[in-house]
Point group: C2
Chain length 200, copies 2
């Protein structure tokens, strides 16, 4: 039995966030109006303010949620074994997680400038925490003598940039599937940080 109209039982909130995510990613935060978001959801603009106190909070919420998910997901995906295996896992995890959420990724990386200072600081701290993941892996790898990098911090930034770059061109149904892409990038990641090649 269909329930009486008006009792959507908490589905509108998520729909508002989903619409905002899509539109912010597509057009940019500043270019999206609250009326556009409301129209996408199918409600009036005034009704949006039952789900967010303002536009800025809506954006910050999307970013925080994305980064929290990212950190939590790596916590589960981290094999916690030797550095080379962790590097491989990290490369594959990062690509998989990012190509599954192109909109959230784009917003989290590009709309930092749209945040007010205090909000920015909190989000930036989460980003920074994620950057320490590859740093730890590389530091361990260098210490164990199985990796060779001139600078752990630079190599970590280079690795993240390389992996995140997949989002600029990857499309489902393209020439290579996810697994192939992950494998090729994991390979390049190993070469980048000086892991000795297995087959040469």
């Amino acid at each position: 039995m269909a329930r009486p109209s008006g009792s959507d039982a908490g589905v509108t909130g998520p729909r508002v966030r989903a619409a905002a995510e899509r539109l912010f990613a597509r057009h940019g935060y500043a270019a999206v109006s609250m009326r556009m978001i409301a129209a996408e959801v199918g409600i009036g603009a005034g009704a949006l303010y039952h789900y967010t106190p303002d536009k800025q909070t809506l954006l910050a919420g999307l970013m925080r949620e994305h980064l929290d998910d990212l950190l939590a997901a790596w916590g589960k995906a981290d094999p916690g074994t030797d550095p080379v295996a962790r590097l491989d896992a990290f490369a594959r995890f990062h690509i998989r997680f990012h190509i599954d959420r192109p909109d959230a990724v784009f917003i989290a990386y590009m709309e930092l400038r749209s945040l007010e200072p205090e909000t920015f600081a909190g989000i930036e701290a989460l980003r920074r925490r994620y950057e320490t993941v590859p740093e730890g892996i590389l530091r361990d790898g260098v210490a164990a003598g199985v990796m060779a990098v001139a600078d752990v911090k630079l190599a970590s930034m280079a690795l993240i940039a390389m992996l995140t770059g997949v989002n600029t061109w990857y499309r489902d149904g393209g020439r290579l599937d996810r697994d192939a892409v992950e494998g090729i990038y994991a390979d390049m990641a190993r070469g980048m940080v000086g892991v000795e090649r297995v087959s040469t």
Copy 2:
């Protein structure tokens, strides 16, 4: 002798473009008003329309100019010798060129979505042409047997993403100077595409 006021002899046009570049990079195209640009230059908003027919054209001009400069500069920097030397030159060139123009780079990469379709196509073609540079180098390197990549196109995209990523953290006067950064990245680039290490 100072010339009579009002005869700035074509300096206002460049100042308009410079102000727009700075502001678009800082706040995003959509968040910047023509009034803000005019205020930065020190003229009224109406006077801007002597230098650009509209805001969109102003943006597209900045992007086109940046990409034209990039392609021309590589044309002069390309040593045109063996693939390994060209890879090294490309990595160093790309980093140097990009960290010297952080605003233009940010705009060219991030405001593509702010362009109307026809304008977008022209800009995108220039970007695509630049991507063929590392593709050619890697193809030659693989053919010559001095590089080993699973996929030339992916490796090119990975290389560009890695190098462009320097712009997200590099600041003049930081821990490492330009030349050191270039050297470290050129090293990682070699490892990434399977060039045999000299010192091991």
